[in-house]
Symmetry: C2
Subunit: 500 residues, 2 copies
């Protein structure tokens, strides 16, 4: 099959270019000397241009047409069929964008990003307002170019969570709110006399790193195929299945930042590493969606590493390693400390229970602006009102409110919902795994949490992009996505933590 071979060649080349772009970007955040920035931006632009040209070439288009018949002959769910289908989808999306649109979008995003940096610094929303309007206008224009079913916002969602629908997200989030807001109220009303000073006991960055990586290794992230570096904003990236890079930042007087940050990125890294090596250099060798990705990171961070069983297993270890932190605190003390619930202004610092309210707020406001029912100029007030309604606090300024996230300034509209979808996927997958593995807490308490990630590898990671997120969740759990698993998890856990 000459054409299939040729398609694999082209996809391999695109994969190499994109892996290389990943390295250019990683190096920029980790080790590049400051003055290298200008040339680096040019190098990235050149690589991106070549990747884009290769991804939209007539040659690729013709190949995909020629492969129509062959595709029909392939078994559904086979890697080759998925490869052709995903290639067709990506090619369709990219070629639907006129060059003029791409250029306008690139320029507008660049302007918006710089305006946002200044606006946030000066805490002055009016400096960002017109640029944000342009981002939403472009998102609507994008939706028209792409085409959509039911609602134009579905085109925005589809880039991050293939097949997600605004109607379903709305309903899911409504259920989530209905079933967890009373819990949050109860937790707040119960008051909290716990002593949290253990979280602020000093621990040197080097020691934080060592302990974080020891746990990450136990979970399966081996230094043979991964490494940890330091950046201002933590992230996970990878240049191939066996070259996983995670980063974190260190706060020497608040060790959970680095430890839970590393464990979060470990989840992302295990997903990318767990893809079947036979898919390497194809368009399938990545996680299938942002939501499924987030399910793996938040599963490791919260469901494993913030569990009571985790600290039962690691308490002695951590105490021996960092007696200056643990002191006389018990496993139970550690467990309760890292699960503190406290309404706060900044999403990335939010606890597990309040986190989704930050996301739902963004989704609802984003959709309202996108639909035209909320004017950009009214966004800060709407933001503050929702914060007050859900979490009972009001940002003192826009920098700590509507201006806090980078996403909108980068045109990432349709992205936020995936964070909460990730939590939902995580619990649904967890419950499915428990049917095979038995008592998950016992596993974790016995230091066998890696078996949970092994189940994820078998049922989620290995497939890469062979299945869409909808197909994958159905296949792995036997049911479509539902909020009930997550609602139940939160209720059980936080009623226990807060002894309600």
């Amino acid at each position: 099959m000459e054409q299939l071979k040729e398609l694999k060649n082209i996809l391999g080349q695109i994969s190499d270019l994109n892996g290389t772009l990943g390295l250019l970007s990683w190096d920029q955040e980790t080790y590049m000397p400051e003055k290298g920035a200008e040339s680096r931006a040019r190098q990235m632009a050149t690589l991106a241009k070549i990747s884009h040209e290769t991804s939209t070439s007539e040659k690729l288009g013709n190949l995909l047409s020629d492969l129509n018949d062959h595709e029909a002959s392939l078994e559904e769910g086979s890697a080759d069929a998925a490869m052709i289908r995903v290639a067709r989808r990506d090619y369709g999306k990219l070629t639907r964008l006129p060059l003029d649109f791409v250029e306008r979008q690139t320029l507008a995003r660049n302007r918006a990003h710089h305006a946002w940096i200044r606006a946030r610094k000066e805490s002055n929303f009016s400096l960002f307002q017109d640029h944000l309007q342009e981002m939403f206008d472009l998102a609507r224009e994008y939706a028209e170019l792409m085409g959509y079913e039911e609602h134009p916002y579905n085109a925005a969602l589809d880039d991050y969570e293939q097949g997600a629908k605004v109607s379903e997200v709305r309903e899911t989030f409504a259920n989530l709110r209905k079933d967890t807001l009373p819990l949050l109220r109860a937790v707040i009303d119960a008051g909290d006399a716990t002593d949290y000073s253990i979280l602020n006991r000093p621990l040197a960055a080097e020691k934080q790193k060592e302990f974080a990586m020891r746990v990450a290794r136990d979970l399966g992230l081996s230094p043979e195929f991964s490494r940890l570096d330091t950046t201002a904003h933590p992230f996970q990236t990878n240049f191939s299945i066996n070259d996983i890079r995670i980063t974190t930042r260190y706060d020497e007087t608040y060790w959970p930042t680095a430890l839970y940050g590393v464990w979060h990125e470990t989840g992302h890294g295990l997903y990318e590493h767990g893809v079947n090596p036979e898919l390497e250099r194809t368009n399938l060798a990545r996680g299938t969606s942002l939501g499924i990705h987030e399910s793996q990171s938040r599963m490791v961070e919260n469901m494993i590493c913030r569990s009571r069983a985790f600290w039962q297993h690691h308490h002695a270890d951590f105490k021996a390693f960092a007696p200056e932190v643990v002191g006389e605190a018990s496993a139970e003390d550690l467990y309760r400390a890292v699960n503190r619930v406290q309404p706060s202004l900044i999403r990335v610092e939010a606890d597990e229970l309040t986190y989704n309210f930050h996301i739902m707020l963004r989704f609802e406001l984003e959709l309202a602006v996108f639909e035209g029912s909320l004017a950009i100029k009214d966004l800060p007030e709407a933001w503050n009102q929702k914060m007050q309604d859900d979490l009972g606090i009001t940002p003192p300024n826009d920098a700590m409110g509507v201006l806090q996230d980078i996403h909108w300034s980068a045109g990432l509209i349709g992205y936020f919902p995936t964070y909460s979808l990730g939590n939902l996927y995580a619990c649904q997958l967890w419950n499915a795994a428990a049917k095979d593995l038995g008592d998950m807490d016992s596993l974790i308490a016995q230091g066998e949490a890696s078996r949970i990630m092994g189940w994820m590898r078998e049922n989620v990671h290995q497939y890469g992009k062979i299945y869409s997120p909808r197909e994958l969740i159905q296949k792995a759990t036997g049911a479509p996505l539902s909020a009930e698993h997550y609602v139940q998890y939160l209720n059980t856990k936080y009623k226990d933590v807060y002894r309600l």
Copy 2:
């Protein structure tokens, strides 16, 4: 001038691709997890292929033809004229190689490299012999494809030192041998009762790094545009004028390895950083030849950092920083210790005076094999005989003799002479600088060695590849290359060090 603009676009793209290839390679040596190697090799192959296709495209060929008339109208020595000339030269060389040859060469080099690793490990030349023959056969074939004047080896030399001729190198090396072998003999005969234990006093890698970089910064290598990392084999690379990477290795019981290693690479780094920023993203934004490059690294390493004046300036500093090393040693003690002359087997560990004999040996043997007057099978014996003749020692095995360098296994034939040419260039440039700057030792002793590198920037670095090495040395020193400056330097210095 539309065509000139288009040429600059293409050269900019090639420059971005090559800078990116540099990063892929740097990361491979520094931070890449072990298992990333296979995908990394594919990424590099893809980038190299795209760079090669762009560099040999018909479009570029046509542009260069179209620019014939324009080129004739440009001022000689102008950057645009040089850019077109160098582009024409590179294009000519690359397009003279049939695809079949490039493929055979790539495969043979790969085989030879692996055979060499095994042969060196087992110290068994016969495992490498046939592969080495193939490397020389390919080098001869390459010369025929490229064309040459006078001698086919000139085609090999030209890739590393444009315009170098075997007849001239032969004569230069003959003079060098004639005028420094008696000096070496005298040094050896004089005996040496110096206590060198200071060189082996333990110094932690972190401290070695700090002191090495402090000196490098004083010389002009700022962390704003450079960084130092650790690798098994030290090197300098850069991805743009403002993104210089150097590496070193640490021996905690022999501090000169890292310190002088860093200072050597600092010279390379300053050259690449000193190129006129207006040449960035053209084909001129690199050092003009390996020989000129080596002149800058060896000037910093030997002429500055192994000078008496250097230790006069840095003695107190180093003593305060590393009292455990310096102890009661004087500046003079340090000076004499780091200039120890001792015939040894391994080129990369050789001192300044014996170093050139290692190079001349390689050049003479390489040329003899290339010309067919020496059979590959007789190479080990010829090597050992020459070592005995010049340095009075015989390698106990081939791993420490003919198999020690990577160069031949990588097909780098014509490369070795540039190391010694670098020493010659260095002294000739130094003497020219002294005419402008006055007493160089006083400058160094006063901590103003950076003014010497400033002169190099003005007279060497800034031009990048605008001038060929021959043109550059004529322009900067008013004379063609001559061994006399270097011979005089070695005689003056080592008669002084050894009090002859």
